[in-house]
Symmetry: C2
Subunit: 411 residues, 2 copies
C-alpha cells in the first residue's frame, strides 16, 4: 500500500488576494479539542461569534453568522434564499466576481439585468442609481471590492435608491471585510457577505454573512407560502420554495437562534478559527486595522513605482488591499511567479479573463499585510526582474518603501 508522508507544508509568504497567511493564534485555536454542537460551551462560542460579526460588519442586525462553506457559499445562501424564479436582479459588473453574481442569480431562476464598466474602473454611483430607477429590480447584487481588478466600488446612495423601488441590496464584501470599512447599516446594505481567507486571515471554509429584517421578511414570506401550499396538499411549484436545504437562511437562522433547531452539524474547528480571528480583529480595532492596511499598501505602491513598474487600474478607485501591476512587455509573468515561489517562498497572484497574462496581483491582506512581507516581496520582485534582464531601477524599491514607513513613524 502506498504510504503518505507527514504533513509538512513549506512556510510561504502569501501575498495573493487570498487565501493569505493565518495568525498563529488562529492556527493554534484550530488544534483545540472539539465540543459537541449542542454543548452549552459551544453554543456560547457561536453566540460570541455572532456578536463579534455584528461589530465587524458595523451593524445592529440580529442575523450575523457564518455559512459553512467557502466565500461563494455565503453569496449563494443569500441569493438562493431571496430570489424567486422570474425576479429581476440587477448586477453592476466591473470585474470577474460581478459575473459570478450573474451566474448564481441565473441558476436561481432570476431574470438578470446587467450594467458594465471596463475592468480597472468602477461605476459612478449615480449611474447605478439611474439603472435601479430604470430597471426597478427586486434585488441589486454587487461587489464591493473586486480582487480581479483591484478596484473598490463606492456604495453611496445605492442603498437609498434600492429602498425607493423596494429592492434588496446584496453586497459581496468578501475581499473588503476586516481590511476596508464596510458600514452595513450606515450604507443601507440589506445583506452583506464576507470572506474569511482574505482580510480576516482565517482559513477558507466559512463565509460570514449578515442581513436585516427586510431580507428576513422575504425569506419568511417564502416559507409561509410554501407551508400554506403543503397544508392544502398542493404541489409546491419548483423554485417557489428555496431550492437549497443547506443554504436556506430560514432554517439556518433557526439553528443560530436560541431555538437551536437542528440543521447541519456546525463546523466546530472552523468556528473556533473564525471566533479567534474576529477576536484579534476587534483587539486590534477596526480603524487601526484599516489604517494598517492603508500604510502597507502605500509602502508597496511606493516601492513598485520606484522600481519603474506601472500599476493597473484607475488610481481613484484603487482597492487598498489588492495592488495590480502591469507585467512589463516581453516578460513571462508565470516565470516570474515561479521564481518568486521557488527561490523566495513568495506567492503572488496571476489574473483572470481579459487580464490573463497582463497583470500580477499582490494582496496586502490581514496577517500577510505587514512590513516584513512588503519589504520581502519588493526585494524579491526586483531581484527576479533583474535576473530576467528586465530594465528595473535597482536599489530604489526598498528605499522608497522604507521612506513611507519612516514617514509613518515605523521605520
Amino acid at each position: 500500500m502506498k504510504t503518505y508522508k507527514d504533513l509538512s507544508p513549506s512556510l510561504r509568504t502569501i501575498m495573493t488576494p487570498g487565501p493569505v497567511e493565518v495568525d498563529p493564534r488562529v492556527l493554534r485555536s484550530m488544534s483545540y479539542p472539539i465540543l459537541g454542537q449542542f454543548d452549552p460551551e459551544f453554543t456560547e462560542l457561536m453566540n460570541e461569534t455572532m456578536e463579534m460579526l455584528r461589530d465587524v460588519f458595523q451593524t445592529n442586525n440580529q442575523w450575523a453568522f457564518p455559512i459553512d462553506g467557502t466565500s461563494r457559499s455565503g453569496i449563494e445562501a443569500v441569493l438562493v434564499s431571496i430570489i424567486e424564479p422570474g425576479d429581476k436582479v440587477l448586477v453592476p459588473i466591473y470585474g470577474r466576481f460581478g459575473h459570478l453574481l450573474v451566474e448564481i442569480s441565473e441558476r436561481c431562476g432570476a431574470e438578470v439585468a446587467i450594467i458594465e464598466q471596463e475592468w480597472g474602473t468602477v461605476f459612478d454611483p449615480i449611474d447605478i442609481v439611474t439603472a435601479i430607477e430604470r430597471e426597478k429590480p427586486t434585488i441589486v447584487a454587487m461587489v464591493h471590492g473586486e480582487t480581479s481588478t483591484g478596484c473598490i466600488q463606492k456604495l453611496d446612495g445605492i442603498g437609498a435608491a434600492c429602498r425607493e423601488v423596494d429592492a434588496l441590496l446584496v453586497v459581496d464584501a468578501v475581499a473588503t471585510i476586516g481590511g476596508v470599512p464596510v458600514k452595513t447599516d450606515e450604507w443601507g446594505l440589506d445583506a452583506v457577505i464576507g470572506g474569511t481567507q482574505k482580510c480576516l486571515s482565517v482559513p477558507s471554509g466559512m463565509s460570514p454573512i449578515t442581513y436585516n429584517d427586510r431580507v428576513e421578511a422575504r425569506v419568511q414570506r417564502r416559507k409561509t407560502i410554501e407551508r400554506g401550499l403543503r397544508e392544502k396538499g398542493s404541489p409546491v411549484a419548483i423554485g417557489k420554495t428555496v431550492a437549497s436545504n443547506y443554504f436556506d437562511l430560514g432554517m439556518l437562522q433557526d439553528y443560530w437562534s436560541p431555538k437551536r433547531l437542528n440543521h447541519h452539524t456546525e463546523a466546530t474547528t472552523m468556528l473556533y478559527a473564525l471566533r479567534e480571528g474576529l477576536r484579534l480583529v476587534l483587539q486590534e480595532g477596526l480603524e487601526e486595522r484599516f489604517l494598517r492596511h492603508k500604510r502597507h499598501e502605500s509602502a508597496l505602491v511606493a516601492g513598485l513605482q520606484a522600481m519603474g513598474l506601472t500599476l493597473f487600474g484607475d488610481p481613484l478607485c484603487k482597492l487598498p488591499v489588492v495592488t495590480c501591476i502591469r507585467i512589463p512587455s516581453g516578460v513571462d509573468g508565470e516565470a516570474v511567479r515561479s521564481m518568486l515561489l521557488n527561490s523566495f517562498g513568495i506567492e503572488i497572484a496571476s489574473s483572470f479573463g481579459p487580464l490573463k497574462g497582463q497583470i500580477w496581483r499582490i494582496g496586502t491582506m490581514g496577517f500577510s499585510c505587514n512590513q516584513k512581507n512588503v519589504l520581502h516581496v519588493l526585494g524579491a520582485l526586483e531581484a527576479t526582474l533583474h535576473w530576467y534582464g528586465v530594465d528595473v531601477s535597482v536599489g530604489k524599491a526598498l528605499q522608497a518603501a522604507l521612506a513611507v514607513y519612516a514617514l509613518d513613524g515605523e521605520g
Copy 2:
C-alpha cells in the same frame, strides 16, 4: 467594548453519533501554516486526498473528493447535480435522514416516491428492489446507516436493480464511512456521500463524496444541453441547468482535475485535516478499523444489558457504531444527559421526532471508539441512574464490558 476570553474548550468524552473526538494528530495538522490553493505543494495534497478517499470508499472511481461544507452539503451536491425537475426519485425511509433525502430532492424539483419502514427496523432489500421495478425512478436515494435509529440497511441487489431500470443509486454513508464496510464498486453504488465528523473523526466541515461515470455522464449531459441553449441564445429553463454554482459537480470536478479550473478557494485547513484523518484510517487498516468498532460496540452493549437497560431497535439490523437505549420509564432523559455532561464530562445524544424522549443514543465512532471511553460512559451512566434512584444492577456493567475485552484478548 466587550472582551472575549481565550478559547479554552473543556475536554469532553464525546460519545454521540457525531461530531466525535478528533485524533490529536488531526488537530495538530490543523495548526500548520496554510498554502495557497494553487501552490504545487497544496495541489499535491489535494491529489493525495483523492487517492486515499478512493481506498476508503473502496472504489476505482476517478472522482472522489470532498465538498466544502458539512455532510448534508455532499448530499445536496450530488442530488442537485443529477436531479432535473420532474425526475422521479425513490427514497426508502427508515429514519430521519431518509426524510432529509426527500426534502432535498423535492427542493431540486423531483417528484419523490417513498416507501417507509418503522423506525428501528430496515427494509428487506427485496422490497426495495420491488419498489424500483414498480416505480422505475430516475434516481434511488437512501441512507446506509441511520444514526437516528441506530439501524443499518443492507444494500444487496439494489445497485443491480437500479441498473435494470437505468436509475442512479445515491447512498448516504455519512455515518458508516470509516467505521463499517462501504463497498462502493462491489455493491454497484453510483454515488456515495461520507461524513467527516463521525467514523473518520475529522471535524465537521467537509463531506467526501465519490461518484462513477454513470453519474458523470448525467452531469455532463446537463452541461451540454445548457451550453447548446446558450449558444442558440435561448433562455435556459429554470431547473434545466444545475440550480447551484457552489455544488455543481461539473465545475467541482474541473477544479479537482489536473485542469484546476478555478472555482471556490479550497478550504485549506480542513483539507489538511481530512488528509491526515484518511492517512490514519489507512494506517490502521480498514478491516482492523471495522473490527475495532465491532469490539467496542460489543463491550458497550454487554455493559448496558448487564445494567438491565433495554436496547431500541431490531438487533438484526443494529448499526455497529450507534447504540440506542430505551430511557427507563419515569426517568428524565435530559436530566441524565446533563449530569453525564456536567459531572462526568461525557456527551451522549438525545433523539429526534417519534423517538424524542424515548431513547438515548451512544456513538462508538472513530477516535471516540476506545476502551477508556466505553468504560467511562458505562460507569458514569450506571452511577447517574443510581443517583436518580433508577433500579439498575449496580456493579455489573463494567464487569460485563471487561469480560468482552478479556475475551477479545484486550483485558
